[in-house]
Symmetry: C2
Amino acid sequence: MKVVELSHGGGGAETQQLIQQLFYRHFANDVLLKSEDAAVLSLQGQTAFTTDSFTVSPLFFSGGNIGNLAIAGTLNDLSMMGAKPLYLSCAFIIEEGLPFDTLEKVVQSMADELQNSDAKIVCGDTKVVPRGAVDKLFINTSGIGEISTGQIVKPSAHNLQMGDAVIVSGDIGRHGAVVMAERESINLHGDFKSDCQVLWPAVKALLDAGLELHALRDATRGGLAALLNEWANSSEVCIEIEEEKIPVSESVRGLCELLGFEAYDFANEGTFAIALPCSQVEQALQVLSQFDFTQKAAVIGKVTDFQAGLVVLQTPWGSQRVLELPKGELLPRIC
Amino acid sequence: MKVVELSHGGGGAETQQLIQQLFYRHFANDVLLKSEDAAVLSLQGQTAFTTDSFTVSPLFFSGGNIGNLAIAGTLNDLSMMGAKPLYLSCAFIIEEGLPFDTLEKVVQSMADELQNSDAKIVCGDTKVVPRGAVDKLFINTSGIGEISTGQIVKPSAHNLQMGDAVIVSGDIGRHGAVVMAERESINLHGDFKSDCQVLWPAVKALLDAGLELHALRDATRGGLAALLNEWANSSEVCIEIEEEKIPVSESVRGLCELLGFEAYDFANEGTFAIALPCSQVEQALQVLSQFDFTQKAAVIGKVTDFQAGLVVLQTPWGSQRVLELPKGELLPRIC
């Protein structure tokens, strides 16, 4: 079995071979850095810039792997700023002995996921570290996106307005639940997959529809609970959520009951929330209905002045409780 | 002893604490991303974009640590494109149990190193992985720089011209030698430090002097040998080097003799090479004489048509040999 060796990260002949035969082959495009220290880009206007390292374990899970996750995650961070994803860097840290086939599968799925946007990988880095210095494979992707000058509002966590409706784009907690189930060797029936997904097409459609997206955020680490708390805190508003309106799949609900978790705390990798004026809810839901991955979009609550900085859950039984920012260990290596 | 815990990477309350109390405090600036998914930048004209992950072991070495190395390395990659470094992302992957003091020392030295340029950290990411999943601390920095529209020539590995002189900015091999000596517990006398250094001030002075910098490259992994071979190969020229003109410190020379290495293969982190017209050599050396870290700059050879694609060393004894692209394991975790 062919494996990645330390020499592939040494900066000499074998590194060049790996770059040319694997990375250049899968990531080929007209801007890709070749034999230079940096890629040269032409950018206009306001630019969004973000970074994310991916350490997910296991590398492969139902619905994806570390490769397409690393693409979707960074494209989504750009999209959530209303920025069209344009350019990505990608940096691999590989454990000596990783099967070459595993690396190629990951790289292939990165290339495939890139097809869901116009973004290109334009520069990269490869490090190989001795056995035991890293667990198999970590990937960092950083991204650059273009913020359209025509946008009515720049979505921001600081920009929620009194009376805004809060929409969630799909059922929550799937990515976290899938990774946890794989690690605990729990078999869940049915079509139980990570929600890992490039969200730009849906965001673009919302922007093109001229909607006033006051805030936009994908519910990654810390889940919907962290997202809503950050919004309430940054904008100094109260967010009141009707618990029964939050879409949660049967599988995720079952896993949560089994293990004593709440779906709100589970990470998502292709599910986002929107805050926008109440009057635009119908139009937003109509736009989201056009995409497979936002079919289950639903209004889950609204922005009020009840208790600034708090997220309040209205339970189906008429009681209220505070949805707190998750604390403690949660699930390590989820993304 | 306070240590980093898994909860610091969970995306919840402890993560926010770490970010606010450590990263925001040391990296404060007016563009820094706060509570958003991406930083928003205003860029003009041509932009350079690069990424690098740092996995150096040990974390601290004579003359630096993984933190200032991660800043200098990425700023230098931008500088080598003739781009003024402007914005950096920084992504930490931390092993559970890393002393908080260690992390703070690293972060402090990143902030200090940033003072050597106008660049700012504008976005970041923090992952904490369980014990054993990573060795202490890895850092990725990605960078964005502005390529001046006034530049006469864009430096490129593909742009070496027949008759060009090749200059090296200082004595070679120090970073690699220092890391190797620390790992092998070899004590080297005198002022034996990594050359880790932000190079932008010297590059800016060379650009401001209107010099035609055909190629510019820092001699990182793979050392001067990899750099010259990539140039000879990319530009399809021969590079003839006079071996005795290459500056090598006594300490590095001694270590190489002791362990059977060549200084050409050792990584540098603040030493670069320039190819430019012979007629501009005096002026270039005069510019470089203004900076402490380029005091030992020297002309080491020239571009010829002797054997396209080859680097040829002229030895002090009148013989010639081919300086090959380094092969094999070299030194893992050097940067």
